[in-house]
């Protein structure tokens, strides 16, 4: 028994396994996708089932500009990580901060929309079934954007305190996958809420 490890050694020099961070992130994305699926199914199932107003077609306006902001932030976060892999920390920071700005703009858009719906249209979670499903689904997505933004901001703080190094690129790659996921979910939410649902 004492020489087990030695005698079992098969001389595997080339032994590479997938990155822990990426595998873990893909699992998290799968779990989150399952959660969103349930909310999307509920939204689709309840379209047109509200017994009182306001109805979606009366109050919803597709947030095209803010959608463009969020979707293009996927590109900027990708470019940021590319720059960091190339060792260009300053260029990384420019794209990274732009990503935060775009994500923040999207959240601002959601806030404006909710403000309008609540105070001008009188639609809240408890108003009718549409309000319940709308705020739940869009709110769940906005919550994920917020979490992503917090993570992006933490990285930015590391940059400003000069703690960020190019060898952190793999970790930021993991974070950027999450951000891509949040963007991809928005495509589904947008389609369901502003295209199919009205």
């Amino acid at each position: 028994m004492s020489t087990l490890s030695v005698s079992l050694s098969g001389g595997n020099v080339d032994w590479r396994l997938p990155s822990r961070g990426l595998v873990g992130m893909y699992c998290l994305i799968a779990a989150e996708a399952a959660i969103f699926t349930i909310f999307v199914v509920a939204y689709l199932f309840y379209i047109g089932k509200s017994v009182s107003g306001p109805q979606p077609k009366d109050v919803l306006h597709a947030p095209i500009f803010y959608t463009i902001c969020l979707l293009s932030s996927s590109l900027t976060v990708h470019l940021a990580v590319r720059k960091l892999i190339a060792g260009n920390v300053a260029a990384f920071a420019r794209w990274w901060l732009l990503t935060i700005l775009l994500g923040g703009t999207f959240l601002y858009g959601t806030a404006r929309e909710w403000l309008h719906l609540i105070f001008d249209e009188g639609l809240t979670v408890s108003t009718n079934l549409f309000g319940t499903t709308y705020y739940s689904l869009v709110g769940l997505h906005a919550f994920h954007v917020t979490m992503g933004l917090l993570a992006l901001i933490i990285v930015a703080l590391f940059y400003f305190t000069a703690r960020l190094r190019p060898d952190h690129a793999e970790r930021l790659e993991v974070l950027s996958r999450y951000w891509h996921f949040v963007d991809a979910v928005w495509v589904v939410v947008f389609a369901v809420v502003y295209v199919i649902g009205v």
Binding site: V23, F39, V51, T133
Partner: protein
């Protein structure tokens, strides 16, 4: 021996109790967290067992008044929720946590701190659930523990019908422990995919590892919908939402769908790790390599996929379209095929083997036959017209207890005995273990064989009492009698393990002459598992080591 016990971090043998407690509370070691999961589950097993006993005592004779209907409702809700979420799940995660890194030659899980976080989330969920006994009254003074049933159908969970906070504690408890479950599942998957020792390709992993990989995938896909449903319930209860409020256009049936989308894969989340334990024990105690390894893996993955498309067989009695009924009848029957393949493979492993009837093997053999019967009653219930007749009767209760106790718990008890020498370094008492086996075996069959009969005679589940003269009386007496045998069995198990921990004989590293990596390190394993990371060339690295003249890798 010497390579693996280099005193890198050996602590002095006796440290003050607060220090040791602090080590356990702050630990990120997969072995300690695995044991914490299992100890946690054992505490809740006692709680859930007491609740079951109260129900059975209440039902032992007709028109009994031992507990009130309200208390009875709380007992079956708490029993179901406890046993699924705070006994079975933690047991499964405990085994996976302890064994997976050891079996793949890793020093820990992929994310040790996430591991600790997940455990403590589960523990917090358990606390929430049981705190409801104290805090569930809320401001209204209504109810204490949750009493809405373990699947909590709407509209029972609405504010109107669940005043007070008992339902809030129920939903928070599941939400929080669900986060812990998904965290652990992510950890298990990542560990298996990214932490294997050199040479251990996917096709060379022990079956236990393969099956836990499938279990992790199922948890990710199945527990998340439950989390989503709990979020919706919270929106309904706290923000005045209408998801499950039929008066505002919402649907009570959609809760059923969301719950069972979780609920049915959950059965396999629990069953697959039990299969995993059996797949390790049966070959070692038959002295043969597992029969049909690739088929076992494929069958497991098939079960994983099919299990996600059978959920509405829980809803035949709710009333669905005939198209939906046919789909769920067929998919449910289809899942019996890969499951049957596994049973035949275990039998073929035993066939012609030199079987050692030690306690772990006894439990696995019982598992095999009881799981077969559980599967057969499952197929009967998959037939929609049959289900219309017997749905929500004690026949269903008997069926799923056959699965969860007769199959899953028996395999887990076998796992307790099989790995106890590895975990503690001590041998358990074989005499007491065999006694426990027979006690539990007799108790199980008294309770759950005979429970089918009042079900077929029309006794619905969840009733608090019944009239005499319906032909149910004698069966209920027998069913309740079995409970005492089972309780004695569980106490004997605990007694045996505790006694052996302090008084048992030294077990050595490899008491079973087994073949997987965990038996190559010392018992108990050092904190770092392996001083040198092993590398493997076959599915049975220790066989290769013990039989250099005839190693497995020549044939795989």
């Amino acid at each position: 021996m010497s390579t693996n016990t280099i005193a890198l971090t050996d602590f002095p043998a006796s440290r003050p109790f607060p220090l040791r407690l602090h080590e356990w509370v702050t630990t990120v070691d997969h072995k300690r967290l695995g044991l914490l999961y299992i100890l946690f589950a054992m505490v809740f097993l006692v709680a859930g067992g007491i609740e079951a006993t109260i129900m059975r005592l209440q039902l032992i004779r007709p028109q009994n008044n031992m507990v009130s209907p309200q208390v009875f409702n709380r007992m079956f809700t708490m029993h179901g929720t406890t046993m699924i979420f705070f006994v079975a799940m933690p047991l499964v995660f405990g085994f996976a946590n302890y064994l997976v890194p050891l079996m793949i030659g890793a020093r820990d899980m992929a994310f040790p701190r996430l591991n600790a976080f997940s455990f403590w989330m589960t523990a917090l969920g358990g606390l929430f659930l049981y705190f409801s006994f104290l805090g569930g009254d809320g401001l209204y003074g209504a109810g204490s523990a949750p009493d809405v049933g373990w699947f909590a159908y709407a509209p029972l969970t609405s504010r109107t019908f669940s005043v007070g906070h008992s339902t809030d504690f129920w939903t928070l408890s599941l939400l929080v422990s669900g986060i812990g479950s998904v965290g652990t599942a992510i950890n298990i998957i990542t560990t298996i995919l990214s932490m294997r020792c050199p040479g251990m390709t996917l096709g060379k992993m022990p079956l236990l590892v393969w099956l836990n990989l499938t279990m992790g995938g199922l948890v990710v896909m199945a527990v998340s919908p439950l989390t989503a449903a709990q979020l919706m319930l919270l929106v309904d209860r706290y923000l005045g939402g209408h998801f499950f409020d039929a008066q505002a256009g919402g649907s009570a049936v959609i809760w059923m769908h969301f719950f069972w989308v979780f609920g049915h894969p959950e059965v396999y989340v629990l069953a697959i790790p039990a299969f995993a334990i059996a797949s390790e024990i049966i070959p070692v105690f038959s002295r043969k390599a597992i029969f049909g390894y690739p088929v076992m893996v494929l069958a497991t993955i098939a079960i994983g996929f099919i299990s996600m498309s059978v959920w509405a067989h829980h809803m035949f009695t709710v009333g669905m379209t005939s198209g939906a009924n046919i789909f769920f009848v067929l998919s449910t029957m289809a899942i019996a095929v890969p499951t049957g393949i596994k049973i035949f493979n275990w039998l073929a492993t035993m066939w012609g083997g030199k079987i050692r009837f030690a306690a772990p093997m006894l439990f696995c053999i019982a598992f095999l036959f009881q799981f077969l019967i559980a599967g057969l009653t499952g197929v009967t219930l998959a037939v929609a017209p049959f289900d219309w007749q017997l749905g929500n009767s004690y026949y269903v209760v008997a069926h799923f207890h056959y699965v969860i106790v007769g199959a899953i718990l028996f395999a887990i008890f076998g796992g307790f005995y099989y790995w106890f020498p590895k975990v503690t370094g001590k041998m358990y008492s074989e005499v007491l273990a065999k006694l426990q086996f027979w006690l539990f075996f007799i108790g199980f069959h008294l309770t759950f064989d005979f429970m089918h009969i009042p079900g077929m005679l029309g006794m619905p589940r969840r009733i608090y009492t019944y009239e005499p003269g319906r032909g149910w009386d004698v069966w209920n007496v027998i069913v309740t009698l079995g409970v005492f045998f089972q309780a004695a069995g569980v106490l004997l198990l605990a007694g045996n393990l505790i006694l052996s921990y302090f008084r048992g004989k030294a077990a050595g590293n490899d008491p079973w002459d087994a073949w997987t990596l965990e038996w190559s390190t010392s018992s108990p394993p050092p904190e770092y598992n392996y001083a040198l990371i092993p590398s493997v060339r076959s599915r049975r690295p220790l066989w290769d080591l013990k039989h250099p003249e005839d190693p497995d890798w020549r044939y795989e």
